[in-house]
């Protein structure tokens, strides 16, 4: 099925658009501009322009690529009339019959993505109501196309972010798919939990599945993608059969962390020159639309891959030593017949061969002589690629003859700029962080973009009482940060995967978020004791001065019961749900996730956040009394953690108001 249904009347007496599909970049993808319009026939007078543009819009009765393109080009040329164009399009969409609305939305989409500035900005104030109003009117099949378009807007801006900003994006998504998926105080306040529709989950599932399928199609040997596709297909069946709200919620969270904002294209065969990874290899990456691959359909426009990567302008490499050497990896890979495998896989493969005795590190065949001999001839002790890369880098750095003296420091002129810029040509457009070229760097980049997307999502679902500064971690956690899993580091954006301090901080973060949740006490129930069904403790109520209402703090409402937010989260995490199974299956092979959520939830935070400890007496008479003696330590309460926390009285006393 194409997003551009075949028109009943052929436009221009030819297929409505060329076979490569509407969005295929016709121009170098680092630029978002169309070539100048072919027929610049407009006068500069705004009134004339408005009239003319409106007239031309009237031609947009079907999904015609030439018409959309032409209207885009005109709009770009006359970007000083962007406001007028935006008004014309809005008016057009609101006026035309239902079957003509979608093509006009494709125009809006195309202009916002391809011209971007100023059009995305012009549409931002009106896109929410325009989208929702239209969506409410159209038939289910048009709706699903609009939903697909909406998903691409998440990362449609050139910097890989929401095309029209986080707030409009979330506003539309909330309207269409119902409430947010995290349980915030505001949602519990508005009574009961918000619900997610099966349709939304399926829609997002299709989106992710199509991403993974394309990855697999491009690289059929990608085990990870195979695994993903299999799991997702299973999951689709389950969701279609019907699952609980809770599970929907978890599946959605999982899906969103799986969805790649970046291209999911497989790594091309490593080549020795960095230019081979230029924008071209990104721009041909598969489209990011959830529909089956149909090269003629409109949305094959790879909105974000091109936008997300910027590759430094390739000049002749004058500092060849500084270029990381994928050559080493590729020559090795040839010998072990896994030509397109990334370096780390080669290492694994090599190790596996050594273990099975097929290869020998010493150069002497260890196992069956003849086989080993031929292998050995082909691959004389392939070095650890990681080490090779490190060696090349070391050579590069040490090649600079430089002394750490006052005189040498000011006299020398070395090409440090190449080290900082040219050597790392893949750059994140959002934050400026750079990565080396080649499959590994690009994979890191994908994970990095994924992180940006997730952080923006989280930010848009802000907890109602806001965020707060975290308590600092303990000395023990600080000292042992990073020592647990040294292999886990290795991300150029500095995010470690498995460091204990980071995990502790994450746990503290999560804990703080949970504790900030509250449920408004129904009027008249202030004095009624309610206990948490899990720990049986009485929920403490307190008075919020700002909002002038009574609330239960650290509380969530589920199925008309009030739980401690912390108890409920713990209980949820330990249950083996469908989503947990999915998570285990998927994330075990996945390297780019950060601290896995299940770990956060299961590990009780050992951070200083839990202020337990003995009640100490401080009854000294004068303001400054020497401490003198060793303090008497009645520290039976030193077993910190949640248990003690829960029993403690609320810290915000109500008496202050008087």
């Amino acid at each position: 099925m194409s997003l551009y249904p075949q028109p009943h009347t052929q436009v221009f007496n030819s297929p409505p658009y060329p076979a490569q599909g509407y969005g295929q970049p016709l121009i170098p993808p680092t630029s978002y501009h169309y070539p100048p319009p072919v027929q610049p026939t407009f006068h500069v007078d705004p009134q004339t322009f408005r009239r003319d543009y409106t007239t031309r819009l009237a031609d947009l009765t079907v999904n015609s690529r030439p018409i959309i393109q032409n209207l885009s080009m005109i709009a770009q040329e006359y970007s000083r009339y962007a406001e007028i164009v935006a008004q014309c399009i809005e008016m057009h969409i609101r006026r035309v019959p239902l079957w003509m609305k979608l093509p006009a939305f494709y125009l809006l989409d195309a202009m916002s993505k391809n011209v971007f500035d100023p059009y995305a900005r012009c549409f931002t104030p009106l896109v929410v109501t325009l989208f929702i109003d239209t969506y409410e009117q159209v038939d289910p099949s048009t709706r699903s196309k609009m939903e697909e378009m909406l998903l691409t807007w998440r990362t449609g801006a050139p910097n890989g972010r929401e095309l029209f900003g986080v707030v409009p994006q979330v506003a539309i998504e909330r309207h269409i798919w119902g409430g947010d998926t995290t349980m915030t105080a505001s949602s519990s306040r508005s009574g009961g939990s918000s619900s997610i529709s099966t349709a939304q989950v399926l829609s997002e599932l299709e989106f992710v599945l199509s991403q993974k399928e394309r990855t697999l199609q491009a690289n059929p040997y990608d085990k990870l993608a195979q695994n993903h596709v299999a799991v997702l297909q299973q999951l689709r069946k389950l969701v279609q059969a019907g699952v609980s709200q809770e599970e929907l919620n978890q599946i959605l969270t999982q899906l969103r962390s799986l969805a790649q904002p970046a291209s999911s294209s497989p790594p091309p065969v490593p080549a020795p020159v960095p230019q081979s990874y230029s924008t071209a290899s990104y721009s041909v990456s598969p489209p990011s639309y959830p529909t089956p691959i149909d090269q003629t359909m409109y949305p094959s426009q790879p909105a974000y891959p091109t936008a997300s990567f910027s590759v430094s302008k390739t000049e002749p490499v004058d500092f060849s030593l500084l270029v990381p050497q994928p050559t080493a990896a590729s020559s090795v890979s040839a010998t072990v017949s896994a030509p397109s495998a990334p370096a780390s896989n080669i290492a694994n493969l090599f190790n596996a061969l050594v273990r099975t005795g097929v290869l020998s590190t010493s150069g002497t065949p260890t196992g069956a002589g003849t086989i080993a001999k031929t292998e050995e001839a082909a691959a004389p002790a392939p070095p650890d690629p990681e080490k090779e890369v490190a060696k090349v880098y070391r050579k590069t750095i040490l090649a600079n003859k430089l002394k750490l003296t006052s005189a040498d420091i000011v006299r020398q002129r070395l090409n440090v700029a190449s080290l900082l810029y040219k050597r790392l040509p893949v750059q994140c457009k959002q934050c400026g962080v750079r990565f080396p070229d080649g499959p590994k760097g690009r994979k890191t980049m994908e994970g990095h973009l994924d992180m940006h997307f997730r952080q923006n999502r989280k930010a848009s679902q802000a907890v109602s009482r806001g965020y707060s500064r975290s308590w600092f971690i303990s000395v023990e956690d600080w000292v042992h940060d990073g020592s647990i899993d040294i292999k886990g580091k290795g991300r150029a954006d500095g995010r470690k995967i498995n460091s204990s301090a980071a995990a502790a901080a994450e746990a503290a973060k999560r804990e703080a978020e949970l504790r900030a949740l509250f449920v408004v006490v129904p009027p008249g129930d202030e004095a009624k004791p309610i206990s948490c069904p899990i720990c049986k403790e009485i929920l403490k109520s307190e008075f919020l001065e700002d909002d002038e209402e009574w609330v239960w703090r650290n509380a969530v409402r589920r199925d008309d019961k009030i739980y401690h937010a912390t108890c409920h989260a713990e209980a949820t995490a330990s249950k083996s749900t469908l989503a947990v199974r999915l998570r285990n299956e998927v994330s075990s092979s996945r390297s780019r996730s950060q601290t896995p959520e299940k770990q956060i939830l299961r590990t009780p935070p050992k951070v200083s956040l839990s202020f337990s400890g003995e009640q100490r007496k401080a009854n000294s008479p004068s303001p400054t009394t020497p401490m003198g003696m060793k303090r008497k330590a009645d520290d039976d309460a030193s077993n910190s953690s949640l248990e003690t926390m829960r029993g403690e009285p609320p810290t915000k006393k109500l008496a202050v108001s008087a």
């Binding site: 900003g165 900082l420 750079r434 848009s460 042992h480 980071a502 200083s608």
Partner: protein, 507 residues
């Protein structure tokens, strides 16, 4: 098309939400190896966008096309190695005289030390074309940055750390800040260290060295730092040099332990930023600074001392340490501006408020409709506003100490080893019920719990406990023995210990 999305040269902005207010946007070409410097007045903000080429601020690269917002009297410079075009909402001046080449060379020399150290850790053979690479025991760089007031020590330290993390080698150097007058990633009054893995951003002096972690989602790891901090409690090192000395050694000990646990972290090295008092030989406090420099050299196992633009200090250091430490004098940037004490006062206030409340810098008028970055964060309005928690607790809930007597003659007025030394380090309990306790609006450091093993406890243990957060006492109700405590987040303080210093909270 204007890259900031605005018309050039003061034409009315057709799209800005402010309607009539016009924004002046200028485009500047920076020649290679020049920098654009700016200083903001209180209440002003500035937006900068890299239109073309490559540029960095104190070693952190700018993403092309993103709008960066600066505020709160920020003073900074956009430097370019290869030339660039930037757009901004106001102009200051462009300088062709920068010490960046020298700083970059220092970085390269430090990087050589790192790769040599890492080679040994990985057990790789030495390269035959590098003599120093044959050293069986190469040391990673552990750098002490010294310099007088307004010499740009912090800037140099930041550039060196940022360049290290930008090498793509997964370096995680440790940045130690032993200048208690500078809050760095948290609040002033601490001696602190953090492992840095992503470039430290510059947007306001409220967060000069990135930012300690919050519960908000962030995009840059340098905005969720996990520092190890000890509370000194004052801005001036001369106020209690003995305590400074002890805290420096505590910090050094824990860094060393971390290095024992993580050899790669050790190879990445350490950069130590110091207070200007370490360099000023004038005044009666000349002596304690040598003791504190010595404390740093010992505690952090310093093997490189960088002296920023100060010949006399350079000679001093050569004399004292030249036989075992590389002493390098590096030029001072002409862009460093003289900062008066009232500016420093305001910055401390910004830092304290930023710790509790965060701070969203309002973009220049006319820009509010566009997405922009503050300190590298994309949705500053959503994630950089923090909600501290205010609660009323009983006096007896929290044990508060002050270190040393309140009115104390300077150490230098006493002979070395005199009796006064004892009381200078003595923890004294402060009773909030007593008038004149000095607790109202005072900034307190909440300490981590003491050793649970009673047999391990000792007098003065609280001097060696790290900080878990900072509190402010915003109200004292003596008749009812209650006080209102502002804390960064939720939590109970029952049974906890805090130390008060000399910083006062100002709303």
């Amino acid at each position: 098309m204007s890259a900031l999305g605005l018309e050039h040269e003061g034409k009315p902005n057709p799209l800005g939400s402010e309607g009539s207010s016009a924004v002046h946007v200028r485009q500047w070409q920076l020649e290679p190896e020049t920098e654009y410097r700016f200083e903001l007045d209180p209440g002003n903000s500035l937006a900068i966008k890299l239109v073309d080429g490559q540029a960095e601020i104190f070693g952190a690269e700018l993403a092309e096309g993103s709008i960066y917002v600066f505020g709160m009297e920020c003073k900074a410079a956009v430097y370019t190695w290869q030339g660039c075009t930037i757009e901004m909402t106001s102009t200051e001046y462009i300088s062709e005289e920068t010490p960046m080449n020298a700083y970059a060379n220092v970085h390269l020399a430090l990087e050589q030390m790192r790769v040599r150290a890492l080679r040994v850790i990985h057990g790789s053979p030495p390269s035959d074309d590098d003599e120093a690479d044959m050293d069986p025991n190469p040391e990673p760089p552990r750098v002490l940055v010294l310099g007088p007031e307004n010499s740009g020590k912090t800037t140099v330290s930041k550039i060196l750390v940022n360049y290290a993390v930008r090498m793509g080698q997964d370096w995680n150097p440790i940045f130690a800040n032993v200048d208690p007058g500078e809050g760095g990633w948290a609040v002033p009054g601490v001696i602190s260290a953090a492992s840095i893995t992503a470039p430290l951003q510059t947007s306001s002096p409220a967060a000069t060295l990135g930012s300690a972690a919050t519960s908000a989602p962030v995009h840059l790891v340098s905005n969720e730092l996990l520092p190890l901090s000890y509370w000194y409690g004052h801005a001036e090192t001369r106020r209690n040099p003995l305590l400074m000395d002890r805290l420096i050694r505590n910090l050094g000990e824990n860094i060393a332990e971390r290095w024992d646990a993580d050899a790669e972290c050790r190879a990445a090295g350490l950069i130590v930023d110091t207070p200007a008092s370490f360099a000023s030989s004038s005044g009666p406090q000349g002596d304690h600074r040598h003791a504190l420099i010595k404390a740093c050299v010992d505690a952090f196992r310093i093997n490189v001392i960088l002296v920023v633009g100060h010949e006399k200090l350079n000679v001093e250091m050569q004399r004292a340490y030249g036989n075992r430490i590389s002493i390098v004098k590096i030029p001072k940037s002409g862009g460093v501006v003289e900062l008066d004490s009232s500016y420093r006062e305001r910055v401390r206030k910004y830092q304290l408020q930023n710790y509790m409340y965060g701070k969203v810098i309002p973009p220049p008028p006319g820009l509010s409709a566009l997405p922009y970055l503050q300190g590298g964060e994309q949705t500053s309005d959503l994630t950089l506003n923090l909600a501290p928690s205010s609660s009323v607790i009983m006096f007896s809930d929290l044990v508060i100490y002050r270190i040393g007597e309140e009115t104390m003659a300077p150490t230098s007025a006493l002979p070395i080893g005199a009796a006064r030394v004892v009381s200078e380090m003595q923890p004294l309990i402060v009773d909030p019920a007593q008038p004149g306790s000095g607790l109202y609006n005072a900034v307190l450091a909440l300490l981590s719990p003491p050793n649970p093993d009673e047999s391990e406890r000792y007098d003065e243990e609280i001097l060696d406990l790290s900080v878990v957060g900072f509190l402010v006492i915003t109200a004292l109700d003596i008749p009812n023995k209650r006080m209102t405590v502002l804390a960064p987040g939720q939590g109970s303080f029952a049974g906890r210990t805090a130390i008060v210093g000399s910083f006062e909270w100002q709303e």
